[in-house]
Amino acid sequence: MQTKKSETRPEVLREIIPPVDIAEVEAGVRLSVEMPGAKSQTISVTVEDDTLTVSAEREEFLDRHRLLHQESGRGAYRRSFRLSRDLAREKIQAEYRLGVLTLTLPKADHTLPRRIEVRTE
């Protein structure tokens, strides 16, 4: 049986689980994921059912060099999060800067306070 290969998943076995900060801000929820050296064309943010997945491949910095010592992880970045229904998944904003992927997930309309007008006679 042939399994469907996801396009965002690169041909490597190892995955790096990037560290993340999650904070509530005025606009909703903000996630900042550390993915230094990610190839910008490969950065992907997907929402499937209730799962938000971020992934990226890493840039290769060595050209004709021989590696002497390595502390950085090998493989591609990948991490998934469970999304609350109170967040507007169609309005997610993403920005990649200085090796940090920042996602802003606004609150869904149904969570915003509604003002109900009182009619007086």
Partner: protein, 150 residues
């Protein structure tokens, strides 16, 4: 591609854990490239590579303005100093999770050979700092011709 042994010892998240890991690693001779000194709450992973002409050191510093990183070279010792601060802290109303490590940190590493301080170049891209350190003449590999007398 070369096979690179995975050294799980390096992956310590906390300074004490890392120091102990490093102690083990140096004892077992796995490191081969000791860090002379390290301070601060956080650390950043470093890779070191070499060509005939230079050493290439890459450090992962996500979220740090590369212009604020202090790099100094003396002999074969390279010192990196940086500080990582949380972004957009003022807007935060409630913190749910903090896995990223912030604070000032410093790292001093010894290179396998002497470098020419005049031939050090640093550049940065997407949170990765690349430092190219030109080798001194003495440190470059030389080909010695063998004269064969017949």
């Amino acid at each position: 591609m070369d096979l690179i042994p995975m050294r799980g010892f390096e992956l310590g998240r906390f300074p004490l854990q890392r120091q102990i890991n490093r102690l083990f690693e140096e004892f077992f001779g796995e490191s081969g490239w000791p860090t002379l000194y390290e301070s601060g709450r956080g650390s950043f992973p470093i890779d070191l590579a070499e060509s005939d002409e230079e050493y290439l050191l890459t450090a992962e510093i996500p979220g740090i303005d590369p212009k604020a990183v202090e790099i100094s070279v003396t002999g074969n010792t390279l010192t990196l100093k940086a500080e990582k601060r949380p972004e957009g802290e003022k807007q935060v109303k409630n913190v749910h999770r903090t896995e990223r490590i912030y604070g000032a940190f410093q790292r001093m590493v010894s290179l396998p050979g002497d470098v020419d301080p005049a031939a050090v170049q640093a550049s940065s891209k997407d949170g990765v700092l690349s430092i190219r350190l030109g080798k001194r003449e003495e440190a470059k590999p030389r080909t010695i011709e063998v004269k064969v007398q017949s």
